[in-house]
């Protein structure tokens, strides 16, 4: 397939995944921000949301103060934020249109339909009154795009590049959310205890769609090291780093099989996957959670770069 097509597919799914992630951040943040200070802590939840989305500096260049309204506007709709949900969906649709022939009609219509819906939305009204309806809609769009691809696309290189984009972005997002909140996951900080941490932990799990999953896997109350274990090492959780890398390795192997050639991307991804398989969460805490996550984000970027260099 054309390199440009692969490139567009890879970024199309990355943008869809990012939009979904931003919607989850907005959702959990608005949930936290309405809690009494004793539960939510005194730090500004909206500032933290920007840090989790990786765009605090970009925000401060435009706005003075992070408030519910400004952050929601910035993350959801701002034209000046290249990673706002609106811009993500627009870019995804632009990429999809450029590679219309590589997508099935169902997948294309889902993306295009979402873009058309977006044109009709009243942003002001959404920001002030109905942000939860908006975030529900975004999550639904991501589900439908993912699902229509899964159900209708041929299992060939187009499909694998699309999947690679989803998993690369998802791994990055999970690692970031953990990194921004790593201090509340450290065992010693649990001494602070109480309602505050509990709501923060719940928020982390919610933002990766794993609150119910946690209870099914561990069958006990929330423990920070178990949350880290679930999100980093548990292959059963679709948003865990280990699961993302299991899938990335599978997609890259399928590509290598189809093209009859292995490369740097395959080697690097396999190394990361093996390191997850051989790790236990105690080790991760001993090396330092923050250091672990920082080095993972860098490794993940390197795999992304290797994919681009090798194929796109």
């Amino acid at each position: 397939m054309l390199s440009r097509t692969a490139d567009n597919l890879f970024w199309l799914s990355r943008y869809v995944e990012r939009a979904d992630y931003l919607a989850r951040i907005l959702e959990t943040t608005s949930r936290l921000s309405v809690l009494p200070a004793a539960y939510a802590g005194d730090s500004n939840e909206w500032t933290r949301a920007l840090a989790t989305a990786g765009c605090l500096n970009a925000f401060l260049a435009i706005y003075e103060k992070p408030t519910a309204e400004t952050v929601t506007e910035f993350l959801a709709f701002s034209e000046q934020n290249p990673s706002s949900i609106r811009r993500c969906l627009e870019t995804a649709r632009f990429n999809a249109r450029a590679v219309r022939t590589a997508l099935t009609q169902e997948t294309w219509e889902t993306i295009n339909g979402a873009w058309l819906d977006l044109q009709k939305m009243d942003e002001r009204d959404m920001v002030t009154n109905r942000i939860s309806r908006f975030t529900e809609w975004v999550k639904d769009v991501a589900l439908r795009i993912d699902g229509s691809g899964y159900r209708t696309m041929l299992r060939n290189d187009a499909y694998w590049f699309l999947r690679l984009g989803f998993f690369t972005e998802r791994a990055d997002n999970t690692a970031r959310i953990l990194d921004v909140k790593y201090h509340i996951l450290l065992p010693e900080s649990s001494a602070v205890g109480g309602g505050l941490d509990y709501s923060q932990w719940t928020a982390i799990l919610r933002s990766v769609n794993a609150l119910t999953a946690y209870r099914w896997v561990y069958r006990e109350s929330l423990k920070p090291w178990l949350i880290a274990d679930l999100l980093i090492l548990n292959e059963e959780l679709p948003r865990s780093l280990a699961s993302c890398y299991k899938n990335i390795v599978e997609c890259l192997d399928s590509l290598a099989g189809a093209y009859g050639r292995q490369g740097k991307a395959q080697r690097q991804a396999r190394t990361i996957r093996t390191s997850f398989e051989n790790s236990v969460i105690d080790q991760v805490f001993q090396t330092g959670l923050h250091e672990f996550l920082t080095s993972f984000i860098a490794d993940n970027n390197r795999v992304g770069a290797a994919i681009i260099e090798q194929y796109l």
Partner: protein, 378 residues
């Protein structure tokens, strides 16, 4: 044959069938093509012939489209939609299917691959990109044909061969169905400011290593000035009378015709020789005095750039419009495919409708609509 002749031996010019200046000074004539042997001798792989019906028996050719005729996606899409809405009608009337068009197109394109290429030539479709108004048709057709839709930047030329950049490295392209105009296909050969083309593409084409469909320079055969000579051209090459007649046409370059046209402007349709898409034309009976006078001045200033035709009583077709069902004027564009093994035509065509009451202008760029067209088995 006409194109092979004007880019080759030039017999029809020498025999005085077509005036020299209409050939050599035609902006669509490409001197670069002179002496280039096109693969399998086919110039116009896809032709759109606009046909109108003016009374019970008479069909006229209104116009030939030999460059990159568009609209086939409306033909296929219209059939698909109507079939969904009125499936029972199709069963009752035995309507000949048209959905094999993409297959016929791709096999036509494969048949004209340069000699010496593999048994399995690679076909690709070249589009200007998603900002082009016909991008939907390009992607739709490429999808239905199962060929790669490429942009100029996806291709490159090495050793006079065309390659596409793929995830598995460069891959050779044998046939390019290009929907980019001559001017823009190669910045080295034609417009240097073109961002849509592939540098060196024309060189590869002239070297015979890639087939372009349609060939470069086909516009020299379809403009409205050459149109008036078509009956003579057909007779010259085939020694036969054309079956489909041309609309009687006055050539404004001819002083006698010009004075007739100027005297009868309110009854005539005047068109620019090199115009298309329904731009720059005058429909006499439907124009105001001022518009007519304005056109008269333009005609006098450069008569050779205009032709005139009688305002035809185009046939109408019942159409569903806001006020209900009403007659609207139509024309028909069948698509003729020409490959190494002869011509093919799917039983159907694009019927274009002038949506405004009384209007004779069916071009989609002027708000025209389309209709599904049936060829019925009786």
């Amino acid at each position: 044959m006409y194109l092979a002749d004007i880019y080759g031996k030039q017999t029809c010019v020498k025999a005085g069938i077509v005036p020299e200046d209409l050939v050599w000074r035609n902006p669509a004539y490409r001197p670069e093509m002179a002496g280039v042997a096109v693969p399998h001798g086919v110039y116009v792989h896809i032709a759109g012939v606009d046909i109108v019906r003016i009374d019970a028996d008479d069909f006229y050719v209104l116009e030939d489209n030999a460059r990159t005729p568009s609209g086939v996606s409306s033909l296929l899409g219209g059939r698909e939609i109507c079939f969904r809405l009125m499936a029972d009608l199709y069963g009752a009337h035995k309507v000949a299917p048209v959905d094999n068009y993409p297959d016929e197109l791709v096999s036509t394109l494969r048949s004209v691959a340069p000699r010496g290429t593999t048994d399995n030539p690679t076909v690709a479709m070249l589009t200007p990109g998603q900002f082009n108004s016909a991008y939907y048709e390009h992607s739709f057709l490429a999808d239905k044909m199962g060929v790669e839709l490429v942009e100029g930047r996806d291709l490159f030329v090495r050793d006079a061969c065309v390659y596409k950049r793929t995830t598995e490295g460069p891959k050779k392209v044998d046939v390019l169905y290009r929907r980019v105009d001559d001017d823009f296909i190669d910045p080295l050969a034609f417009r240097p400011d073109s961002m849509l083309g592939v540098p060196g593409l024309f060189g590869a084409y002239a070297a015979g290593n890639v087939t372009l469909a349609n060939a470069v320079g086909t516009g020299a055969a379809d403009d409205k000035a050459i149109y008036t000579y078509m009956p003579e051209i057909v007779k010259f090459f085939l020694s036969e009378e054309p079956i489909l007649k041309n609309v009687p046409t006055w050539r404004c370059r001819d002083p006698k015709d010009l004075s007739y046209v100027l005297d009868h402007l309110p009854e005539l349709v005047v068109k620019e020789v090199h115009g298309s898409g329904g731009y720059g034309m005058l429909v006499g009976p439907q124009s105001s005095k001022m518009e007519i006078e304005d056109f008269r001045a333009r005609l006098k200033a450069s008569p050779e750039t205009y032709i005139a035709q009688p305002t035809l009583a185009l046939s109408t077709c019942p159409s569903f419009v806001n006020s209900g069902v009403a007659p609207r004027h139509v024309d028909l564009r069948p698509f003729v495919l020409t490959g190494a093994n002869g011509m093919k035509i799917v039983p159907g065509g694009l019927t274009r409708v002038a949506m405004r009451e009384g209007s004779l202008v069916v071009n989609s760029s002027q708000g025209g609509g389309t209709k599904d067209t049936w060829v019925v088995e009786l």
